[in-house]
């Protein structure tokens, strides 16, 4: 049981990172970047490519993350911004970001071939025992990095001006622009950061999956579902969604049958959505309200 839980958390951390990538871009622009999964793939492929050229694997990994971030920013400028400039409420970005996903996936297959290639294995060799369960060092680091990234992002969003600017633009881009915010810059940065999260997930999962141009499909969907579970109000909630999805998937594989992770988590998500239409974290709203009220001095507006 501990093993199921821990393995679930390890894979869920990856889903959560991709889900946060979706959420960060969505948070500022109200756009779902359907190429988010492919950004993970870009991270893996570029890191593996640099590692094969003989570069230090750690440097290759950093370059992989940067490449994913750069492609994320380009996606915004080329495929999203013109569409939103025409009509902020249209759903046309669905087509243009899917187009980007097609280009990235097949471009990678064209450049590096459609089959799996090696990825530098740095930490997979070492095992860590937690009670009766065993994790690789890679998995432990993945969990730690993912949780740190989620907390770090949330602090950044709430405590810095740039983070608050994102909130303002999400709420009303026209008003934010009128107040002097550079909407395009913030949105581009959000897409770049979203790409970096996906790239980070990529280099974390790379040693297990190897580098393959079709990785984006699997992890893109999982990340998307993580976003759905967490709800769109706070990007860090997607991390919680990812962890839950990972645990559900592992449990389904162990307890139902080996194919059950294809459908079981999704069914749970739907049942949950029907019970809690605003996402899982809406459950905590009364508590947060109570905390805020307790903290605020009497009479002050909450």
């Amino acid at each position: 049981m501990t093993q199921v839980l821990l393995s679930g958390v390890a894979i869920g951390a990856i889903y959560g990172l991709v889900g946060m990538g979706f959420a960060i871009a969505f948070y500022v622009t109200r756009v779902i970047n359907f190429a988010e999964g492919q950004l993970l793939m870009v991270g893996v492929m570029v890191a593996a490519w640099f590692a094969r050229t003989g570069l230090n694997p750690w440097v290759a990994i950093v370059l992989g993350i940067l490449a994913a971030a750069a492609v994320g920013a380009i996606t915004y400028l080329v495929a999203v911004r013109p569409v939103l400039a025409f009509d902020r409420f249209s759903f046309s970005w669905l087509v243009s970001t899917l187009g980007v996903a097609l280009i990235l996936e097949n471009g990678a297959a064209l450049i590096w071939g459609p089959t799996s290639r090696s990825f530098p294995a740095l930490l997979t060799g070492t095992s860590v025992h937690v009670g009766s369960a065993t994790l690789t060092l890679q998995e432990v680091v993945t969990i730690a990095v993912a949780v740190a990234a989620a907390i770090g992002f949330e602090l950044y969003r709430r405590r810095t001006l740039f983070g608050k600017l994102g909130m303002a633009i999400a709420h009303d881009p026209e008003m934010a622009t009128a107040l002097g915010a550079n909407t395009v810059l913030v949105a581009t940065a959000a897409f770049a950061l979203a790409g970096a999260f996906a790239g980070l997930a990529g280099v974390m999962i790379g040693p297990i999956t190897y580098s393959n141009p079709y990785l984006g499909d699997t992890y893109g969907i999982a990340g998307f579902v993580a976003l759905m579970i967490g709800g769109t109000a706070r990007p860090a909630a997607a991390m919680v969604g990812g962890l839950l999805l990972g645990i559900l998937g592992e449990a389904a594989n162990k307890l139902i049958d080996t194919q059950a992770s294809d459908w079981f988590p999704f069914v749970v998500v739907v049942v949950m959505l029907l019970v809690l239409p605003e996402g899982l974290l809406s459950l905590t709203a009364p508590f947060r309200r109570a905390v805020r009220r307790a903290r605020a001095p009497a009479g002050a507006p909450g």
Partner: protein, 619 residues
């Protein structure tokens, strides 16, 4: 605006016949072409049906369904299994598919509509996923390998000249689907659907049960998807991979790439996405890259899809030929005045009604609105209204004033049924309505407007007023399916247009009738709201700051409209901020402050009230 509405009315039958003939020629050619082309035509027609059915819900009511591949799968599997294992007649299976999948759609819609927007997409997405997983894992569906579908019966010998029967069948199915959707688009239901999409409170206050209409439309869309599945079964093999969630996404791509909410556009999208990969034979990776680049390119350059491109070309050609089009006058430059002589006739009618009302007997004793001891709070917040009594006498104008946040709009929402009080009771014309929702309360003759005009900006003022008349067209939803073909619809349509014009004339905005509200000034939006609320002849009218943002001359004009309405027997609740105006116009005034009634009674008495002067008038 639809493309068809730009065509002059007299040309429409001719255009329609010409298009139909061209389509017939194409079908004849396809039915005699090679098997390869016939396969492409069949698949393109099936996806055309799917795209049109998805556009029906996504374009008109904003429901971005990813469940259509699953519904499509149900139709295809049901056809194959009923034919192979149970030896049903193929033409008995078709209605079974339409009804069965339609029913599934109703259930899926009813369940999924609890959530909206993206969550609607994910709920329906999971439906598709479950259907395909089930099909892959069950034995009676043939597992991953799938099943071999039935063969479409050949034409009888006397029809042998027509060629391949299945091609005719699929093209006729696509045609029928398109005609049904175009019928809905041309019916008075269309503005109501857009109102449900963009301005839900407006549609509800016009008496449309928005959830039922959405679910019903989703059921219709599902039925079409089931029919597409029936058609698809004849293509050879039915297997799970043909109905994966990616197919759902693909259908949505067809809709958006072709042009969402255009009906014809999605068919173009379906043809492009079906034919392009089959016809471009290059390195598969390059082909996919090109495909992706086209997605990005088309949407970035023409955000409204292929139809946007076609309209642009059409406009260019029109300009070249000097056919600027008589149907599109440059209204922006005219800036018609608000007051219109034609209003006189409508007013005369209103006065006739008043005369008729008074000859029928005196004004009834029961008040138009009678609220007793109303309390309200949002969730667990503080009380927004506390023990409010609010009585509106018949055929009077009752002003409701108070500072911002005093609970005026909340009280109005409670009366119209959008909110439910935590305590107290509400009677409309002597009938207790505490248990009734918005739609039912419309049945008691209550109409309302909203503080910031809630209307459909992409429609004209006339179409917006039509939304207000929803409850006046009997069985509109059912009849919209064949609207242009129904003689009764022609009659109703004429009457409807007349009422709309009269109503717009009554408020003095007739000349703005054909202008898209997005292009009209704020005052016109306010008047359109008023016209939509008056159009069906309500007995009680609730106006939430109808004068906000109007110029002084327009305010006087609006005041005269309200006086006329009152004299025709309508009871009016008027929320307003300008005290001078309120006291001059209203018979009674109620002053709210911090959720409690400060004063209520005849306008003159309230005006002299010491407390009101201090709290509200600032004296």
């Amino acid at each position: 605006m639809t493309a068809t509405s730009r065509v002059p009315a007299a040309w429409r039958p001719a255009t329609f016949v010409a298009a139909l003939a061209g389509y017939g020629v194409f079908a004849y050619w396809a039915a005699h072409s090679t098997l390869y082309i016939q396969g492409l035509v069949l698949v393109a027609a099936v996806f055309g049906m799917l795209a049109v059915s998805l556009d029906l819900v996504a374009g008109m009511t904003g429901l971005y369904s990813l469940g259509h591949a699953g519904l499509f799968a149900l139709g295809a599997y049901a056809t194959t299994i009923l034919y192979n294992d149970h030896h049903w007649n193929l033409f008995l299976i078709l209605p079974a598919c339409l009804l069965g999948v339609g029913a599934v759609g109703l259930v899926l819609g009813a369940v999924s509509l609890r959530v909206s927007g993206l969550y609607f997409a994910i709920t329906t997405f999971v439906f598709t996923l479950v259907v395909t997983v089930f099909a892959s894992d069950s034995t009676f569906t043939g597992g991953y390998g799938g099943l071999i579908g039935p063969i479409f019966p050949e034409f009888p010998s006397w029809l042998g000249w027509a060629g391949q029967s299945v091609i005719w069948a699929c093209l006729i199915a696509l045609l029928l689907t398109t005609l049904v959707v175009l019928a809905i688009r041309s019916s008075p239901l269309y503005p109501v659907l857009l109102a449900i999409r963009d301005a839900e409170p407006f549609a509800a206050s016009a008496g449309a049960s928005t959830a039922a209409v959405r679910i019903g439309l989703f059921g219709l869309s599902a039925a079409i998807a089931g029919g597409a599945g029936w058609m698809f079964a004849f293509q050879g093999i039915v297997s799970p991979s043909q109905f994966s969630w990616q197919v759902s996404v693909n259908i949505l791509v067809m809709v958006i790439l072709g042009g969402i909410n255009t009906t014809i556009g999605p068919i173009l999208g379906a043809v492009f996405i079906t034919v392009f990969p089959a016809q471009v034979n290059i390195n598969p990776f390059w082909q996919e890259i090109l495909f992706g680049a086209l997605f990005v390119g088309v949407i970035v350059v023409f955000p409204s899809g292929f139809v946007g491109l076609i309209r642009l070309i059409g406009r260019q050609i029109g300009r070249r030929l000097g056919l600027a089009g008589p149907a599109a006058p440059r209204v922006e430059e005219e800036q018609p005045g608000i007051v219109d002589a034609a209003a006189v006739s409508a007013v005369a009618r209103a006065e006739e009604r008043a005369a008729a009302a008074s000859s029928n007997g005196s004004v009834p004793e029961t008040p138009a609105i009678d609220c007793r001891d109303i309390s309200f709070r949002y969730r667990s917040g503080p009380l927004v209204l506390n023990g409010v009594d609010f009585v509106v006498r018949r055929a009077t104008i009752h002003g409701l004033i108070g500072p911002n946040g005093s609970g005026k709009s909340t009280l109005v929402d409670l009366i119209s049924g959008r909110l439910r009080p935590v305590g107290g009771s509400i009677e409309i014309e002597g009938v207790a309505v505490d248990r009734e929702g918005v739609t039912k309360r419309v049945g008691h003759g209550v109409a309302r407007t909203f503080q910031s005009a809630v209307l459909v900006n992409e429609l004209s003022a006339r179409q917006n007023v039509q939304v207000g008349l929803y409850s006046r067209v009997p069985r509109l939803a059912a009849r919209s399916l064949a609207w242009p073909a129904l003689p009764s619809a022609r009659r109703d349509g004429r009457r409807l247009r007349q009422t709309v014009d009269d109503s717009l004339a009554f408020v003095g905005a007739r000349e703005w009738g054909r202008v898209r509200l997005a292009d009209a000034p704020h005052g016109i939006a306010q008047l359109t709201q008023l016209a939509a609320a008056c159009a069906w002849g309500p007995r009680t009218l609730i106006l939430d700051e109808p004068l906000a943002g109007l110029a002084p001359s327009e305010v006087e004009h609006a005041a005269s409209i309200l006086t006329k309405l009152k004299s025709s027997g309508v009871s009016i609740v008027l929320i307003e901020h300008q005290p001078r105006f309120v006291f001059a116009l209203c018979d009674d005034v109620t002053v709210l402050a911090a959720g409690e009634v400060v004063a209520t009674g005849p306008a003159a008495a309230v005006r002299e009230d010491e407390h009101v002067r201090r709290v509200y008038l600032g004296q």
